[in-house]
Amino acid sequence: MSEAGVIHDIGYQRYDGPRLGRFAMQQALYVHGLRAAYGLGRSAKAKIFPWLVFGIMLLVAVIVAAVRSTIGEVIFTYSQFADQMSFLIIFFVAIVAPQLVSRDLRSGTLPLYFSRPLRAADYVAAKYAALASAIWLLLGVPQFIMFLGAAFTTKTGFKGVWNEVLDLVPGWGYSLLWALMFAGIGLLIASLTGKQAFAAGGIVAVFLMTAPIVGVLASLPSTTANSLAGLASPMTLIAGINQWVSGAEGTGLDLGRFGPVYAIEAFCLIASCLLLLLARYRKVASL
């Protein structure tokens, strides 16, 4: 035992503590990514945009809740909220996805990751989960505010709260679908370039340019083409699934009997985004 009060130059110390496995690394990378998405642990500049978007969405949710509790009129349901906020989500993804992956490409940090036990699949999984969680929180938290507003002012007691829960949970599920879809497409585009501005532009372009295609298809004289129009854009694709599953109205889509096609395409789209991401990072990792 060394005497107290004596300062030693301890020199280099070997580390003999625990070394965690790949799962722990993946988790650490996930938490790091989720924090980075909201600019936590980053410069003030990196915080502006995510919190601005988050603030706007919260504000809308508070207004919706307030209107509902005072005059009892429902402006948006939980899933309509997600639909209405789609443009904000696109911008959020366009800023955050490049933050998560383009930065690593740009600064050449990937060799440092892949010379560690971490694999390409771990990296992709952690980043995807981080972005999907960030998007889900962006939608889920305001939806929860709406729920609180509705639950505290319900006039039918516990039953009213329970009904509200039954509305909220599918709303959260719908938000999750948005999150999974947008995270996959956003990350895939962002992983192709190291320039954050290009990546952001590419993401916005892919989401916005596909909307007119839907419009054109929807105005064709064929009912089949009209029913399948929503497949052309990720946003109408998700709205179509919601309509098919819950029978919700007001999305402007007429699915006809093609509901399952929407679900299958969504699944394939997400899966192929992940596979392409994996292939991309397999290639990067071997460099």
Partner: protein, 304 residues
């Protein structure tokens, strides 16, 4: 202890480019210089040891582990400092190194402590909370070294650690590498295309050219029995050369200096006597080691 063993290691890339051809070496722990021109296969060798690219033929073992099948175990014990710029500009060094420590499997608090320690050892303790974007090239190289050191590896693979540094920065970096190898007890492979640079700090040397092994040996055995005396006088260098040649010494000129092989302990006295006999002003008389480069030039010409 032998840490790296290769046997007939070959790597051919898709386009038929041979990066490594039939490389067979066994390397002991210590500071190891890996020398070769650009494109000689140094980086490929490092990537194979890290399990980043599989060899096309032959075997390689690091700490008696196979990087192809036991990648995780190898990588957990190895720290890698790449040649290229690999640092994000908008985070602090402390945060970046901590993050990479966690990516090496350190728990949160341990990663933070070891990141501070690693940055202290590379001499960035005071500046560690500044953003990396504001660092000089020398400081960035130190951050790269710190991230390779953070998880306390048993072997460091440094790819051109002195790249882009000024002479003072080079000396500091090399001194640091030597300290890591001797005081910290971590073996280091230093890649460089400058032989003169690494020979100063290395225990052993691997020289490759065009993917082939030129020579692998301990520095001491390369430079043993090859000491020479350098003599420099004010004027009359020619007279002294003639006098020394008369005494049966093999004299060679090197600029203003005369190089005399040191065959025995009496060589000093005999040279001094010759200088005083000729009444010359002696400027210097010192013992010089053969530079390793000279060994390679003679060997290469012998090969051709």
């Amino acid at each position: 202890m032998t840490i790296i063993v290769t046997d007939g290691l070959t790597k051919t890339y898709g386009g038929g480019v041979t990066a490594l051809a039939d490389l067979t070496v066994a390397v002991d722990a210590g500071v190891i210089g890996l020398v070769g021109a650009n494109g000689a296969g140094k980086s490929t060798f490092i990537k194979i040891m890290l399990g980043l690219v599989p060899p096309s033929g032959g075997t390689v073992r690091v700490f008696d582990l196979d990087p192809v099948t036991q990648t995780d175990q190898v990588r957990a014990r190895v720290g890698y400092m790449p040649e290229n710029d690999c640092l994000p500009p908008d985070v602090s060094a402390a945060e970046f190194v901590t993050h990479l420590g966690r990516m090496s499997g350190l728990p949160k608090t341990a990663a933070r402590e070891r990141a501070s320690e690693a940055l202290r050892h590379v001499g960035l303790y005071e500046e560690r909370y500044r953003q990396i974007g504001g660092y000089s090239t020398g400081m960035k190289q130190r951050v790269k070294l710190a991230q390779a050191l953070v998880h306390d590896p048993d072997l460091l693979l440094l790819d051109e650690p002195t790249n882009g540094l000024d002479p003072a920065g080079r000396d500091a970096m090399l001194a640091l590498v030597q300290r890591i190898g001797t005081e910290f007890g971590i073996s280091v492979v230093v890649c460089s295309h400058l032989l003169g640079e690494v020979e100063r700090i290395c225990d052993s040397l691997i020289a490759i050219e065009g993917g082939r092994l030129l020579r692998a040996d301990r520095i001491s055995s390369m430079t043993a029995a090859s000491d020479v005396l350098a003599v420099e006088v004010a004027d009359g260098t020619d007279e002294l050369a003639a006098a020394l040649a008369e005494m049966g010494m093999e004299v060679s000129r090197d600029g203003r200096m005369l190089l005399v092989p040191m065959e025995s302990e009496t060589a000093y006295d005999r040279i001094l006597r010759a200088v005083t006999d000729l009444d010359l002003n002696l400027h210097r008389l010192d013992q010089r080691r053969h530079r390793v480069a000279e060994l390679f030039t003679t060997k290469e010409t012998a090969d051709v």
